[in-house]
């Protein structure tokens, strides 16, 4: 493994991915904790042609799938989203509305769509790398990506169940 590994960076990526899957901060922390233990346990399964980061993301995914966390409480999910808005005070009202719609649309996607979208859009993995992490053919990655984007767009255009915080005319 790379001796100059970026451990905090790996952990942040693991947590981001776990959060995309669980949609809940506390559950995400549990998944990451289990994933670290599993990684230590299964260190020999590390394939040198995989990057360390991708290997860890694959473990996060497997831990999530095998333990199937409970559905996150809607309230907690919305809190997290409200924090995102607070961190981005420069967004105009119209953009805040749009971001809130995307947030709830994303949360409403099936998890295999969220997984593909997250790994590509947030972690910046190539389609082939996502195929490796999820252990599915690259064609499946492409079709999931396409369907995920379509349903994100459809959900986004539907009514938003989230109340906008900090806005004047919400």
């Amino acid at each position: 493994m790379n001796p100059d590994a970026d451990i905090p960076g790996d952990l942040i990526a693991m947590r981001r991915y776990a959060r995309a899957l669980t949609r809940d901060e506390q559950d995400a922390d549990d998944v990451v904790q289990d994933a670290i233990l599993r990684a230590i346990e299964r260190e020999r399964s590390f394939k040198p042609e995989f990057s360390r980061r991708r290997w860890l993301l694959a473990i996060v995914h497997n831990v999530f799938i095998s333990s199937k966390r409970r559905e996150a409480a809607e309230a907690r999910r919305n809190d997290r989203f409200a924090e995102t808005l607070e961190r981005n005070p420069d967004l105009e009202q119209e953009q805040r509305v749009r971001l809130s719609r995307i947030a709830s649309a994303y949360a409403g996607l099936p998890e295999h769509h969220r997984a593909v979208l997250h790994l590509i859009a947030v972690e910046g993995l190539s389609y082939q790398e996502v195929a490796d992490v999820l252990d599915i053919p690259v064609g499946t990655v492409m079709s999931r990506l396409s369907r995920a984007r379509d349903s994100l767009k459809q959900l986004e255009q539907g009514p938003s169940p989230l109340r906008i915080v900090g806005g004047g005319n919400g």
């Binding site: 493994m1 001796p3 100059d4 590994a5 451990i7 905090p8 790996d10 952990l11 942040i12 947590r15 981001r16 959060r19 995309a20 990451v32 904790q33 670290i36 233990l37 990684a39 230590i40 346990e41 260190e43 020999r44 590390f46 989203f81 995102t84 961190r87 981005n88 749009r98 971001l99 995307i102 947030a103 994303y106 979208l117 997250h118 590509i120 859009a121 947030v122 910046g124 190539s126 389609y127 492409m142 990506l145 396409s146 984007r149 994100l152 767009k153 986004e156």
Partner: protein, 238 residues
């Protein structure tokens, strides 16, 4: 007019996965096709939205970092001694690890390198408080660790005790006058280290190691082994 880009190509464009030639082709077509261009812009902004939503400002837990650094050590070829405690290593894997250092490299050099890396990691983490005070007398009283005098232009940035198989070691992170970040590692143990420093390379870093009586030392930092040797010499002479 050129043919339309495929849906696949547009996704790959949004995801930044096209080489410049194909990017150029897609962009040229989009410039003439407002509907598709709007589709692409909407997807680009959704992608950015997901990045905004994924942003997680919470600092990572030090306990998780400590666990993860165990992971790196067990799989790295150099950490055979601690690797063994994970129990899962095959004999063949263990045998191949012994070869990683040149013959005669004392075991504590592993600890010197890993403590240096942890110090560099701590330096980059706001939640990890450094202890930049070096009280050589207190250290000697409580640990029997005898430190060489440091050059006047070295600034101590962190001082930590570090557990090893042979008892506590002291790790002093410094910034040299010319801005290099080094770690001096000191362990009270009679090792095989030579009296004059000898240096080995370890990835981007080099480690110079030496012994004085029953004290074993290592100096770790980025750079060539020769340069690390030379810096260690100044400590030996002090």
């Amino acid at each position: 007019m050129a043919e339309q880009s495929s849906e696949f190509e547009l996704h790959a464009y949004v995801d930044g996965q096209l080489d410049p030639t194909r990017r150029f082709a897609v962009e040229s077509r989009l410039a003439q096709d407002p509907d598709r261009a709007a589709w692409v812009m909407a997807e680009l902004s959704n992608r950015t939205a997901l990045q905004l939503l994924a942003d997680d400002p919470r600092p990572v837990a030090p306990a998780a970092i400590a666990q993860m650094s165990r992971l790196g050590m067990a799989s790295s070829k150099r950490f055979i001694r601690r690797g063994a405690i994970f129990g899962g290593l095959s004999l063949a894997a263990a045998a191949s690890m012994v070869l990683a250092w040149p013959a005669g490299t004392p075991g504590y050099v592993d600890y010197a390198v890993s403590s240096h890396r942890i110090a560099m990691m701590r330096a980059n983490m706001p939640s990890q408080i450094e202890a930049p005070v070096l009280d050589a007398r207190e250290i000697e009283t409580s640990t029997n660790i005898d430190l060489p005098a440091l050059p006047a232009d070295w600034r101590v940035t962190d001082v930590q005790l570090f557990p090893t198989d042979e008892g506590p070691a002291l790790q002093v992170a410094v910034t040299t006058g010319d801005g290099l970040r080094l770690s001096l590692f000191a362990l009270k143990a009679h090792s095989d280290a030579p009296k004059r420093p000898s240096a080995v390379r370890e990835g981007l870093q080099s480690v110079a190691y030496w012994r004085r009586n029953d004290m074993s030392y290592a100096l770790t930092g980025d750079g060539e082994p020769g340069a690390m040797d030379a810096r260690a010499e100044t400590l030996v002479r002090s």
